[in-house]
Amino acid sequence: MSMSNPMIESSQEFHEINYENVKKKQRAKTFTKGMVFLLPSIVLFGTFLFYPLFKTMYLSFFLTNARGETTVYVGLQNYIEMFTSPIFHQSMKSTFLFVLYTVPTTIIIALSLAVIANEKLKGIGFFRTIFSSTMGISVAAASVFWLYMFHPSIGFLNRILELFGVESIGWLTDPKWALLAVAVTTIWMNLGFTFLVLLGGLQSIDSYLYESADIDGAGYFYKLRRITIPMLSPTLFFVITVTIINAFQTFGQIDILTQGGPQNSTNLIVYSIYREAFSNYQFGTASAQAIVLFTIILIMTIIQFKIGERKVHYQ
């Protein structure tokens, strides 16, 4: 008899387990575990991304003193002044023109180079290295290099023009040419990265697809149009997004080559923000511009994703 008692007790215990409670506990456990794993990124993003973002939004509603402390609450006044300022209009126009000059050109050149470099030829490694080499050059070094190229008297470009008897051009001092000159520099600098990413995309396309097309009798451009471009679309999409964001955020080469001049023709928005904040010490208006830039990039990215999702083929 004494043996049967614990048996009965334990079976009663078995019935009394509250499954809902146990499940809740387990869920709480997995949640805490997940949060622990997320903690490093949350801390990093919080300090260096989310906090500055909200601080910038806050600042954009105030006037500040030279030390960046808020003085007067002005509401939307910063924004209103900005949108009525002709300098800001010029800056926006330059920025959009700059994006228009750089993004398509960079991608088309990088794609052509990548398609060529993807061929299996002798010594192709050398060309791949050359084509991607600009990735390893810092913005400052590249800008200085181009500064000499654009030099009005001793610059390489004007020397060539001289050879053909054309009058020399003030690449960086003529408002007509300055934005174009900066755009060329930027294209050259971005080419390495874009090329490398696109080449990687090309190499991940299954070679069987091309062999099958060869047997079917497809020509070179037919294969390019029907296989390469569609199969590369996720990579192209990524590259376009990144290049557009980069173009909107251009700063280094402007600072070294033109400092926003001549006549504000290269005063791109990030440079304008920098000037407002650290030359004029107007942290309030600078913050307002930064928020506008953030909104533009956000909208552009959303549009791209909306369009991209329909066109891009993911495997």
Partner: protein, 370 residues
């Protein structure tokens, strides 16, 4: 004159050691020809050379009596099915099937007609608007086949097309491909590493190892008269049982463990006084009864296949397997009588591995069947 002729074909990468050596072969029109061999034997390379995807290092390749060494794949008038199907993931089934016709700018009406015919034949009519990722493995395989069929090329090359399918589907597709080939009268060159596929599908089989032809022949011929030890062990499942043997005083001694008496009349002079390897098919070692020549062996493993039973036992250092019809309730460790006789044995030269004499019994069986 064969439809495809390979004359002394060889392949080497970087001008170093040859991957393929002196391949001489003729494939007839309308024939289902199987290239079989272990991985790395060069069979896929050979197929890709016929297709024109791989350059031919030496020798002459003729298709339809024309030398095609220098021609690109599209001018060789052939179709090919790849192991991973090579379907374009961004195109629908219809676009996939029509890719080749579209590239060749075939007339729209003709395209439509051929698409309808092919889709109906392959049972794809319902799936034309789907993308490859929305298809099952078997359906993808069918699309790949449809692409080959729609091109109406007289020669079709297949590179291990069934290796991504599960066993049941594979058995189905074997039959389907075979029927399709017969129906359309295609000349088929089919590469596989699976000897079962080779045996069941091929009109003729070529066994390739290390870039050298081991044997070319009909499936039954390869099974009954393997030209050497490689073919003997490669073709047939379970594989042929082998054992080192020598002849001494009217007795055949196998692996120093089995002694089988035989009459000199049974074997020709040529195999006496030589180092031998004998081969014995699993089904040629039946359960022994009193009237026969019987060896008693200890069972080390039993596999029940339903209507057949595989029993394994050790002969010296070799593990032999016998296949018995019916269900035998035997335990591991039992000692059972096995009938092992000289007339069922293939004799190979121990040094070169070449066949000296094929089994006499199988020849009898062949006669009975005919």
């Amino acid at each position: 004159m064969g439809y495809i002729e390979l004359m002394d074909i060889s392949k080497s990468y970087n001008k170093q050691s040859n991957v393929l050596n002196g391949i001489d072969l003729q494939i007839e029109e309308g024939e289902f020809f199987v290239l079989v061999g272990p991985s790395g034997s060069g069979k896929s390379t050979l197929l890709r050379m016929i297709a024109g995807l791989e350059e031919i290092s030496g020798g002459t390749l003729k298709i339809n009596e024309k030398v095609v060494n220098h021609l690109p794949p599209k001018d060789r008038n052939l179709s090919m099915v790849f192991q991973n199907y090579a379907l374009y993931p961004h195109l629908t089934v219809e676009q996939n099937i029509l890719f080749g016709l579209h590239a060749k700018k075939v007339d729209k009406q003709v395209q439509k007609k051929r698409l309808e015919e092919t889709a109906k034949m392959m049972g794809l009519s319902e799936l034309l608007n789907r993308k490859p990722r929305e298809l099952s493995g078997g359906q993808r395989q069918r699309v790949a086949l449809a692409r080959a069929v729609v091109s109406e090329a007289p020669l079709c090359l297949m590179d291990e097309p069934l290796s991504n399918l599960d066993a049941k589907l594979r058995a189905n597709m074997r039959i389907e491909i075979r029927r399709l080939q017969k129906k359309l009268g295609l000349t088929m060159v089919y590469v596989t590493h699976d000897q079962v596929e080779a045996m069941t599908m091929g009109d003729r089989i070529m066994v390739l190892n290390d870039g050298i032809i081991q044997q070319v022949g009909e499936p039954i011929e390869l099974y009954n008269k393997p030209a050497n030890l490689f073919v003997a062990t490669f073709i047939g499942s379970p594989k042929m049982n082998l054992g080192k043997a020598k002849i001494k005083n009217d007795q055949l001694i196998i692996e120093d463990a089995l002694t089988i008496p035989f009459e000199k009349m049974d074997v020709p002079e040529s195999i006496q006084n030589r180092k031998l390897v004998i081969g014995l098919r699993a089904e040629h070692m039946p359960h022994g009864n009193e009237t026969q020549q019987v060896q008693h062996v200890e069972i080390v493993n039993v596999e029940h296949l339903g209507n057949e039973t595989l029993v394994s036992f050790e002969i010296g250092t070799e593990l032999w397997t016998a296949k018995w019809l019916g269900q035998w309730l035997i335990q591991v460790g039992d000692r059972v009588p096995v009938h092992i006789s000289v007339e069922n044995m293939c004799f190979f030269d121990a040094e070169t591995g070449d066949l000296i004499k094929a089994a006499a019994f199988t020849r009898k069986q062949e006669v009975v069947l005919r």
